[in-house]
Amino acid sequence: MAPHTDIEGNVGPIDDVALDQIGSVFTRVDGLVESVGFDSHLDPTKLGIRLADGIGEATWCRFDVRWFQRGYYSFHHIDEQEVNFRYDYHPKPDASQRHFHRPPEAYSDDVEQSCITATDPMIVARAVHSLWRRAYETASLVHLNDADNPR
């Protein structure tokens, strides 16, 4: 019945105002953003943000973003090379609420503590974008969950 997620807890319905803000942030900070849109207006489940290039060999990528009314979220990256990773914040037994699902599969049980500690959507969106952008510019998936930028 429910779409596949590993959310275990009461997160509330989708917050489309927060998702609109996240879409605006991506459009503002990155010229590669091609399109931003909900999968449906009558039954919105996620906001898709598509970019015209991707990390390494990938020729495009997309973030499927969910933001819930109680402040929980999921930023799921997928690209042309089928590289998946996810920055999540939601109740999950046996794992930190803020967790990172590692690439390239982003399996539900392959998680580590997320480096994103921000809580409001427009700040989380900027942090996710910066982490993606560094991986894109260095063509490397190694530091996706590393808050510090080694100089």
Binding site: M1, A2, P3, H4, T5, I7, E8, G9, N10, V11, G12, P13, I14, D15, D16, V17, A18, D20, Q21, G23, S24, R28, V29, H41, L42, D43, P44, T45, D53, F68, Q69, R70, P91, P93, C115, I116, T117, A118, T119, D120, P121, M122, I123, V124, R126, A127, S130, L131, R133, R134, Y136, E137, T138, A139, A147, D148, N149, R151
Partner: protein
């Protein structure tokens, strides 16, 4: 593809702190207070909003009062002071305008029917009357949290779709015929809802 010159744009130090810095550099205090209150679904004090918006408390209070006057913010008076949250009708009207822009009446009716069916499936499957009852029954580690989230979404979608349907032909000022008269009848009747040309959207 690697673009060597853009590495200069990369953040220094912690990505979370850098994100806050970029945000505050990019926005006015009013924009930040508005963005924060727009995603605040539980009442909070002016000082809590101020902290999240990175503004002083008097500044937050001033902008929140202005936003309350426009109807965007709801204020709640408690013994320990005023609390603020986004006005729920703001959320609803944006969704309804989007639906009116993209969907016909028939599509909305169909969606309502599908959503009601999904609700009935949940009621039968969990043997509960409504979503709140399921919330009380679930415990950490139980299966069913995904379904609970979905069911809450179904209830929200239903409320909004039903409102969108009843407002589809909403036109108290008879503005459509007025517009048609003004434009020499060149404006053909469009197949979309009354609020679909409401462009008053701010991110």
């Amino acid at each position: 593809m690697t673009d060597a010159e853009s590495t200069d744009d990369r953040w220094e130090g912690d990505v979370n702190e850098a994100a806050v810095k970029d945000w505050t550099a990019d926005t006015t205090t009013f924009e930040r207070v508005r963005q924060i209150i727009d995603v605040t679904a539980e009442p909070q004090s002016a000082s809590e909003i101020a902290e999240r918006a990175r503004v002083s408390e008097p500044t937050a209070r001033k902008h929140l009062s202005a936003l309350a006057e426009t109807g965007r913010v709801k204020t709640i008076t408690t013994e320990s002071g005023t609390r603020y949250m986004r006005a729920p009708q703001m959320l609803a009207m944006r969704r309804i305008a989007d639906i009116h822009r993209e969907h016909t009446k028939e599509e909305i009716r169909q969606a309502i029917q599908d959503l009601k069916e999904e609700r009935r499936d949940f009621q039968d499957h969990y043997d509960v009357a409504d979503v709140d009852e399921l919330t009380l029954e679930l415990e950490p580690g139980n299966e069913g949290w995904g379904d609970l989230t979905r069911w809450q979404q179904v209830e929200q979608n239903l409320e909004i779709a039903q409102a969108a349907l009843s407002l589809y032909d909403f036109d108290p000022d008879d503005s459509r015929s007025a517009a048609a008269r003004a434009s020499d009848g060149r404006t053909a009747a469009r197949d979309r809802g009354a609020l679909g040309d409401d462009t008053a959207q701010t991110a």
